[in-house]
Structure formats: C-alpha cells, structure tokens
Symmetry: C2
Subunit: 351 residues, 2 copies
DNA sequence: GATGACACCTAAATCGTTTAGCATGTGACA
DNA sequence: TGTCACATGCTAAACGATTTAGGTGTCATC
C-alpha cells in the first residue's frame, strides 16, 4: 500500500526517466537541455516523457555537480520602505528574466543580523550577492562573502573602499539639485531633515546639501541639520525641532521621501502649509510622493533603473570575476511639485 | 592573510576539514551539528577548525542527501503594494527566525508567469511553498506544487476547494464592518470601489459589501459596484464613475487602501472633500492610510499577524504533511479616521 | 576491405554531505 | 582470562544531476 503510493508518487528523477526510456542519464540530461549532440527524435521523446511524468529537475544535485546555482542572494537592510520595495521588485524582475532566482535576506539595519543572514544565504552558494549593506557594515563583512569567489554587487549604499561593483544614484548631486532649487526660489536659510553618518547615502546626501549651500555661497550651519534614520516619525520630529529653532529655516531638503512625509506632518501639526509657509524637497520620488497633499517636490532617483543595473552588474561579474570594477551612479532629476515656493516675503516669526 | 591562505588552498569542504583533522567526514559532520555521539573534545576541535578555516556548509550537498533544503518558496502576485510588502516582510522574518530562508517569486498577477516562476522555485525543492495565487489560478496549478510532497500554504488569497492551509483576514466580515459603519452614520446609498471576481479576496469583499447592505435592509444595486484591480489609478477612475452616476452614492467602501487612495484623489479632483461631502472606507490599513490627508477610515487586517500565521502553518505542515488542514482567518477591525462622516443633510446634486 | 568521418549514445567519475551499520578501544566484572 | 557494555569513530553507500572520454554503428572514400 505504502509502496504503491510511493511508487505512484515516487520521485521522478533523471535516472528513472532514463530507465523508462531505455536511455542513459547522460542522454536524458543532454536532451533536456537541448544539446545539439542528441538526435532530434530522441530529444523530443525525452522532453515529452519528462512532461508526461511531471519531471522537475533537482537543482541541488545540478548545483553540486556544476558549482552553479542560478541563485542570487539579495540582502537588503529593509524592504518595507517603498523605495526598497521598488528596488527589490526591479532586481527580482531583472534577475528572473535572466533565469536567476532571488534568495532573500533582510538585515533590519542590524549588522549582527546581517552577518547571520548573509552567512546562511552563502550556504546556498548563490552565484552572486546583491547587497544594500546595513549601517556600520565593515569592508571585511563584504569581503567575507566574496572570499569563496562569489560575485558581490552593492546597491543603493556602498562601503567605501570595498572595491565591489556598485549601482545607485548620485546622491550628492541629487541633494545639491534640491538645494539649488530652493536657492533659486530665494531661500537662504535651508535645513536638512534626516540622514546619518553610518551609511554612505547619509554621507553623500549631507555632502550634497553642503555642496548646494556652498555653490550658493551660503555658509553651512550645523544647527540646521537634523540627522536621523529615514523614518516618517523621525522626519516629523526633525521638522518640529527645526521650527523650534531661534532662527528657523524657511525651507529644507530631506534624506528621503519618508522623512519628508514626516516633515510634512510636522508642518501640518505646526499649522504651517508646505509650499507656502515652508518649502520642502524630498528624495527618491516614491509613488506616494506625487499623491501626497500637497504633492511633494522631490528628487527622482530612478530606483528601478539602478535595480536593473545592479542585476546587470551581478550577471556580468558572475560571468567574469576578474572584469574591472564598475560603478553606476545614475543622475537624479528634480521633480518640482507643490511643496516648494518662494519664501514668505515678510515676517514669519519674531526674529 | 588567513583569508588568502584558505582561498589559495581551495574550497574548504567537510572532507578537507576531516583530512586536516585526521578524522572521518562522518565525525566532522556530526561534530558540526553537535551530535552527542562525538566526544566533547573532538567536537570543540572540529568546530574550532571549521571557524578558523572559514568553512561554509554546502546546502546543495546536504539537501541532496537529506531531501531537506530549509528553503521556503514564497510566491506573491505583487510586492509593490505596501500591503504585500508588509506581508513579505512578516513572512521573511518569521521564517528566518525558524532557520528557513525565503526563495522569492513574483507573478505580477499573471498565471503564465506564475507557473514559470513557481516551477523554477520547485526545482530548488523548497520544504514548503507560501503562495498568494495570481488571479485565475486553478486548483491544479497549486496541486502540481504539492505533488512532490511539498507543503503548500495559501496566504491572503485562496483557491477555494484546493484543500490547502490558508492564512488571511476574514474579508467578508471586514468589508461588512465598513458598510455597517457607513450605515450607522446614516448612509443608505453606498458604493464599492475596486475588487474583482477572479480572486478570492475580490469575491469575499464583495460578499461582505452585500452582506453589510443586507443587514441594513438596503437593496443591492450593481450599478454602485465599480470592479477593478486594487490600483490607485483604478480607484480614481472608479470614483469618477461613481460620482457621474444619475444618483451617486454618498459613501463607498473599497477593495483595498490603494484603491481608496485613488478614490480620494478622484474626490479631490471633483472638488469634494472626503469626510464631509463623501464618506470612504478603505481596506488593509497600510501605514500610508493614517498619514493621508484626510486620514483614511479603513479596516485594519493585521497583515503581519497573518503573515506570521502563514509561516507557522508552513512550518507545521512541513513537519507533518498529514495534519488536518488549517484555515486561519483573522478578524479585521474598523479604524475610524477622517474620511467618514454623516451624509450631507441636503442637496448634493440635482437628483 | 580498410579507413576515417560522423552521428549518436553510454559508462563512470565526480560534486559535498549525511547516515546506517560496523569496528575499535577501554574498563568493569565474573 | 574472557566477556560485555559503552563510548567513540570509521567505512561506504547513498542523494541526483553533469560531463569527460570513449564506444558503436553507418556510410562514404580510397
């Protein structure tokens, strides 16, 4: 009884298929993969039988033999932020189109968890890793991944000096664009909401902020920088603190759209209207940005594009481990919507 | 230095480790997995050596031998909708805590793509599948996955009569809650935005809409149902169409928050204010709902909770394939915010 | 009729683990 | 001294695919 069931449900392997067809496993294997060395008739017979018997290849076995898994490990520090969801979706789509499958790991911005997660992923011997490293990741953490000859590509964030491929946006230029826009509108006192030192994007975006100010000849005032992770809640608090300053800014750029949304809430809570009483520029241009009320002026960073680039880099590197390191930094574009306007002409507060 | 040496000496495998330690692979294997049959001293020696040499187990080999991969295939029809992102994040977290890794597949609501994707995932022999099936998925499509003895769990959506475990929200009750809320506010003419027949959630939510009306003794009017997928853009169009009716509704429930956001935009475009001129209830309560302006009254569906439930069901079923089928339907909760209010007392339009 | 050339297929050796079943060594005990 | 029990490790056979290095049969050519 048990036998019958297991016989019926019995796993159909290459060997079983070969047996049933009176062929060798070699021929069946080659036939299934459309090798030109097997005769057309045989190939069709094999493929037909495979279909009929519901044969499903066993990648573990193939991987063991070939040292190729067609798996790409994708390690992100967060997937709930819509920006990273878009990124993940783009990476998944591009890889899947190339016949690769995504093995997912999420670090939650925690290096310990990242080490554990990536270590586990590594046991599956992915052909490549695409990683957006958690804050405080060290060069060695990434190097360890590459040690076994696995391609490693950084996306969005990078560990400077790691020497791995990178795809992301030119964050420095991007935030500078936002500042330039505010300056052009007439703002001189411009704050920054969110962003922190422990990640490359934080550093690059802060640098962009400073560069933008410098280009306009505006001195940098550290009091106007409200560092923090890119959360909504954190953005709200940052805005409250900006508004509570002795000499509050009339405008701000922010680390990402999420913190900008929080900042918008902060403005609202303070009875101010963005785009009239205060100007705000976001970063990323996630779908929500256009729909917010008022709609968010922000910097569009082509996330799906650089997600696809990351996939391309991974495919290229796994094809040739020794190719020159490639960095892809897409130029962001300013998208002017309703949260920016010239500064209020007169009194905002008793200065 | 250490790295370079091990890199030069080639891949460090169990066998190599065994050789270097003067032990058999059997012993090393057992030692690494803390088997009690190996002496304490030996175990420590082995584990120390493994650490020192940077040994990374090869899951393909282990999987081949044990027919266990510790992989769970997660097939979603969409990951960009924040509701599914939250779901994915919850599933990933729960599985990862149980030592399982997520192999991701996205169907984009396309059965053909789903078949291909899940077929590919199957080659990796996941211990279980957690699936939110694309529209028009047939029972056989899922059965095919389970054929090889893989645990299959449905999440969010289900294929009725498939006989697989399921975790989701009680959508019928949920939407009925929303309708009841509108009825209690005094609305009698209530529309429905989004949702379609080809998916179980569409059917269940429509049923909830009808049930809600019936409970209030309000006749069902098919003209008030604007079916469609749960997109923002589609919600906007649906609202425009509702407002263009001869006798437009004074309120509506919607298939999900995304279509509700679209509907809010539609209202705004029509110069109406949600929560004053028109009442709207969303579904899911994604983070964005509370932040929208005005904030969205919606039905909270405990997405992370049922994501975790799905993970639990998958773990349970992979431990015991013959356990009784389990369905988990969490009861949603109405969250009243600012988009609902009593109907405008007098004229809305020339009727 | 020997000789290749060619088309097609096969035997067998891997890949790195796990595990059933057996071997060895050591004391305790009769 | 012989026997038993126990602790500890080892041998060897899987697992299911891929691939190298042939093997076999057929046909044209010299």
């Amino acid at each position: 009884m048990e036998d019958m069931r297991s016989a019926r449900l019995g796993k159909v392997t290459l060997q079983r298929l070969a047996l049933e067809l009176g062929l060798s496993t070699a021929t069946v294997s080659l036939a299934l993969r459309d090798s030109p060395v097997v005769a057309d008739g045989t190939r069709m017979r094999v493929q037909e039988a495979a279909r009929a018997r519901g044969y499903v290849a066993n990648r573990s076995a193939a991987a063991l033999r070939t040292a190729r898994t067609n798996i790409v490990g994708v390690g992100l520090h967060d997937i709930v932020n819509p920006a990273f969801t878009e990124l993940l979706a783009a990476i998944e789509e591009a890889l899947s189109a190339a016949g690769k499958t995504v093995l997912l790991g999420v670090s939650q911005e925690d290096v310990t968890r990242q080490t554990r997660t990536l270590g586990t992923l590594a046991e599956y011997r992915p052909d490549a890793f695409i990683v957006s490293p958690a804050a405080h990741t060290q060069v060695e953490d990434l190097k360890a991944l590459a040690a076994t000859g696995i391609a490693v590509v950084q996306v969005t964030r990078e560990i400077e000096g790691s020497g791995f491929d990178f795809a992301g946006s030119d964050d420095r230029a991007g935030v500078a664009l936002g500042v330039a826009h505010l300056v052009a509108l007439g703002h001189r006192r411009i704050g920054m909401v969110g962003g922190f030192d422990a990640i490359s994007t934080g550093r690059k975006r802060l640098a962009g902020y400073k560069a933008g100010l410098a280009a306009a000849g505006i001195p940098f005032d550290p009091a106007l920088v409200m560092a923090g992770p890119g959360h909504r809640e954190e953005g709200r608090r940052a805005m409250m603190r900006l508004l509570a300053l002795e000499a509050p800014p009339t405008a701000a750029v922010s680390f990402n759209d999420l913190s900008a949304f929080g900042a918008l809430m902060g403005l609202q809570a303070a009875g101010l209207t963005a785009g009239r009483d205060f100007s705000l520029v976001g970063y990323d241009d996630i779908a929500e940005a256009a729909l917010w009320h008022p709609s968010l002026t922000t910097v569009h960073t082509f996330i799906p594009e650089y997600g696809r680039e990351a996939a391309r880099l991974a495919l290229a590197r796994m094809a040739d481990l020794s190719r020159p390191v490639e960095r892809v930094e897409l130029s962001p574009r300013l998208v002017v919507r309703d949260t920016t306007s010239p500064p209020m002409p007169v009194k905002r507060r008793p200065l």
